[in-house]
Symmetry: C2
Subunit: 197 residues, 2 copies
């Protein structure tokens, strides 16, 4: 057994380094040596924590979607029964999640192709779960007559796509803060589903 | 001078092969040899047409955004003066463009980081031009009182993001055709800008 390194960045630091390097060079253009170098470790020390580049990518992607699902479900639990409040809650959660770790979440989109099976299918299933949480809220709103859109499932998908897309353009230098963007996306989502005021 | 190959896939075929291989393996994970192999050429024959992998990527990205801008401007010229008609026209154009070549347009997003300067900045400028075509239509609509959104620039950006995003989920196997999706996105965009009926 490889002795555990006495100090170093630990798993979190290695994952951050992996996200940084893979975001710049792409999964296939990145070596374990590159990641270890960014984390300030020897490749051997990195292998103590992760057995391969693939395991690093799988860990990044599984943790990401798992955390997003947890937060979205918690937001729904806290939001009560009214469809507009529920939609606001999950839009805000989804937007803030993608603004919190822009590079990590964008990696989740651009390197999906690089995930090996069965992790890839499991990840896609989780993404569909996230989409269905939105679908259920929007469809419930139309059934209750508080959302007027004639195309709830297309609206729901477009809401998720635009809320995921914030990671691609947000700048921490402004002009809007993360919270301001989340609030504006609540407004856009309500408009897109035709929320009855 | 290298003699021009008597036959072969030509530039179009090479660009298609480059899009296919780069979509699967990422720019940094792709070699000129991989692309030549996919196109059924020797690397030497490929170098007759393109001097490097970077020139291939630059050509794919510049042709893509150039064609999108041309089509969007033509759609505006044909759409007349009414903001809702103008928004429908550019939404439809943008959606259909991204559904026509899903892999090529997605490459344009995921491999932007791999473009060298000055091509990268030129490409970003062209993307901003495309965004401004949408911004102008939406702002004009709010100024005329036919679009009610209080946040026209956010709505305009979200419209472009959701219309670009169709490349990420569309399946030619259905259930909706490209034209049906374009029509539904016209509806979603009009709702998001608060179009007054």
């Amino acid at each position: 057994m490889v002795p555990r390194p006495a100090q170093g960045p630990g798993e979190e630091g290695i994952l951050k380094a992996a996200i940084a390097v893979m975001s710049e060079q792409g999964y296939h253009g990145t070596s374990v040596r590159d990641i270890a170098g960014r984390a300030g470790l020897s490749p051997g020390a990195l292998y103590y924590h992760f057995e391969s580049k693939q395991e690093l990518l799988a860990t990044i992607m599984e943790r990401g979607i798992g955390e997003l699902l947890r937060r979205t479900r918690a937001a729904l639990d806290a939001a009560g029964d009214e469809p507009a409040a529920r939609l606001r809650a999950i839009v805000s959660t989804h937007v803030l999640f993608h603004l919190e770790d822009q590079r990590g979440t964008m990696l989740g989109t651009s390197e999906l192709r690089a995930l090996d099976e069965p992790v890839r299918t499991r990840h896609l299933d989780d993404r569909h779960r996230q989409q269905r949480l939105f679908d259920d809220v929007v469809v419930q709103g139309t059934e209750r007559g508080v959302f007027a859109t004639p195309i709830p499932l297309e609206a729901s998908r477009a809401v998720v796509v635009m809320c995921t897309g914030v990671a691609g353009w947000f700048s921490p230098r402004g002009p809007l803060t993360r919270t301001e963007i989340a609030l504006r996306y609540e407004r856009l989502a309500l408009d897109m589903v035709g929320a009855v005021e």
